[in-house]
Symmetry: C2
Subunit: 394 residues, 2 copies
């Protein structure tokens, strides 16, 4: 690992000062190569799927690439390449009474380590967002996606060489050995940030063992609260979408809370709709389960305060929605639910870097420090104060 | 500790939605009470100083309060009370093509734990910055300042009661037992952020044992590099100021690097000046020592690149300055030194929340995540995305 750390850190010094045009050209070249090599990528992905005997349908869905998903990845790449450059942005500043000019300037973090599972598109999204933000990165994907990831990482290397950037700017750790992951998350001085994306076990392992600062992408235990004033037809459509459109996603709804006053009338209609879509209803859950499947928990609550208390107690601080026609209840929900994304009258499924205008995401932070919610290129930066003096002393 | 955690968390729910006028009134009331009770505060501080037999002169200096320092604290309080309110600031947002309005809104973190040593003004600065940012806080000061801190914390409590805020909004842990500190830094779910300010042992203990996210305020190993084109008279004045004006401060210079071409002419003048101020010169140091006293290390370097490499290797990422008349060297230094604050032709002593316009500081972050450099009220916030929909599904 020491050799990898020094390679990546040398590359990071070059990335830090690489012109934006070069970084953008690299990102666009990745998209071109993905289009050119679609057959090769899908063949590697087919091998991974064929090997995925023990995975759940949700995990196989996450693992799967196809022409549509590759086109989506290329659209993300174009979106990332055409974003404003975060590097060098002047965030603010002022002139001290003594005449010194103090500027706060956005700069890359340096080296970012990203640990993830299953979804091979993460390899490309993260490489591109790190290039956009001037960071080098070490990617450690899941062993179930190893063939897909190796093929995609080779494409990234080719694109880096094409524009004259060092290949060490994006390194894939293709050794599934967990001890190497441990070395990665404890490499203080060699790695500036670790982003774990994945199941509870992975997050737990990383947060308990890391010495490098972590921004975690924890589970998504998302709620929808149906207030007594909610529009039934729209509510049913939103809940169905939030559960059924991609149950394996972390922004899918897991628990529906329903105001007691409408339970008798609303729930039969909701259940009929969900059962048609193959959804299993659980009404006596432990409220802490992330199903990631066509299963949803339903609980009747006395009022909006009980709903907010339930969400703040059992939720994961990811995405929660209220469905209501009552203005004050909408405002209370937005103010009092302590989550990264709070919605009124919309599906929780929108919590996503692409949907939020970030091009793609390096993860969805469920913590409050550094970044919260979908993380894009800006979230992979820090800042420094540059002070222009003329002999000032204090 | 469980009782403290629940008291503080209940207070945090109130603080989160407390009007800015109430929070500002509490901050101004603290200043009024400090002025009214100066005799009582200085008597308590005298007791601490009398007990401080084993402390170094630098530590006693940090511990000491006097009329001038109390007046400075009151000026900080007024500055904090008259700052723009960070809570509720709309950081940005856009309307999704489907019509949803997505706003990024600044919100308090919740509960902040601050662990510090010696300087009793930290008690007031941190309480005020937490009130400014809508956070409740748990303060754990050093046992050497316990009498000063208890008196100051009682004043904060009185101010909170005066404006109708819960006393649990600012809690002083007055038990020096280290096991309570351990409980504090591992209280995931009860505490949102830990800020340690202090010596290396404290920082090491906290970063190695914390489960709650940490923004560390590490040592300040600050450098001044004297380039070959530097103005001698101004350079000597800046170096003298950076070492002598308050050697116990973390922004004091510890190592001076001098370009080889001017060493023979510049160093004798510098040494003469520093010796007059009682400064000891060390030329064969291990380069990693934070003296915090009237001692400075001096090293001759071949050129600016060697200076930058030295700083990035031995520095603590705090504050580093170049003294030069060469424009390109100034820019290279600003771009390539990877520290929170980089200066041209000014003393490192300006790295300070008050000097940077933050009113005061809750610490000076030497890490890149969340906040870097002097931390004020804005650094004690996170954000959430509020999404206003009208039935949107994905």
């Amino acid at each position: 690992m020491n050799e990898i750390f020094s390679t990546v850190n040398r590359a990071s010094e070059i990335l830090r000062i690489a012109p934006r045009s070069v970084r953008e050209k690299a990102i666009r070249r990745i998209a071109e190569l993905i289009t050119l090599k679609e057959v090769e990528i899908l063949a590697a992905n087919r091998t991974d799927i064929d090997n995925a005997h023990s995975l759940s349908p949700a995990m196989v869905d996450r693992l799967t690439l196809n022409s549509k998903r590759l086109a989506d990845i290329c659209a993300s790449l174009e979106s990332i390449a055409s974003q404003p450059d975060p590097v060098g942005e002047i965030l603010g500043g002022h002139t001290h009474p003594n005449g010194m000019r103090i500027s706060k300037v956005r700069v890359p973090l340096g080296v970012v380590g990203i640990i993830y599972e299953s979804r091979p598109n993460v390899t490309i999204d993260c490489a591109a967002l790190c290039l956009r933000s001037g960071n080098a990165c070490i990617l450690r994907g899941g062993k179930e996606a190893i063939n897909s990831n190796k093929t995609l990482a080779a494409i990234v290397s080719e694109a880096l060489s094409y524009v004259g950037l060092p290949k060490g700017a994006v390194v894939l750790l293709d050794d599934p050995d967990r001890s190497k992951m441990l070395t990665l998350i404890q490499a203080v001085g060699s790695v500036d940030l670790i982003i774990p994306r994945g199941g509870e076990n992975l997050i737990k392992f990383v947060t308990e063992n890391a010495r490098v600062p972590v921004v975690k992408h924890d589970k998504g235990l998302c709620h929808i609260y149906v207030d007594s004033s909610a529009d039934f037809a729209s509510s049913i459509e939103i809940i169905n979408n939030a559960k059924v459109s991609r149950p394996s996603a972390c922004n899918a709804v897991e628990t529906v809370l329903v105001h007691a006053d409408i339970a008798d009338t609303f729930l039969p209609q909701l259940y009929e709709n969900l059962k048609t879509s193959g959804v299993t209803i659980v009404t006596d859950a432990d409220w802490s389960t992330e199903y990631l499947s066509l299963t949803v928990a339903v609980r009747v609550v006395e009022n909006i305060n009980a709903a907010i208390a339930h969400i703040n107690k059992y939720g994961s601080g990811h995405s929660d929605a209220i469905l209501t026609e009552n203005y004050s209840n909408a405002q209370d929900f937005l103010n009092l639910v302590d989550s990264a994304c709070v919605y009124v009258n919309a599906s929780t499924r929108f919590t996503d870097g692409g949907e939020f205008g970030l091009g793609a995401e390096v993860g969805i932070s469920t913590q409050k420090l550094h970044s919260r919610g979908p993380m894009g290129a800006y979230d992979l930066t820090t800042y420094k104060y540059m002070v222009y003096g003329s002999g000032q002393t204090r």
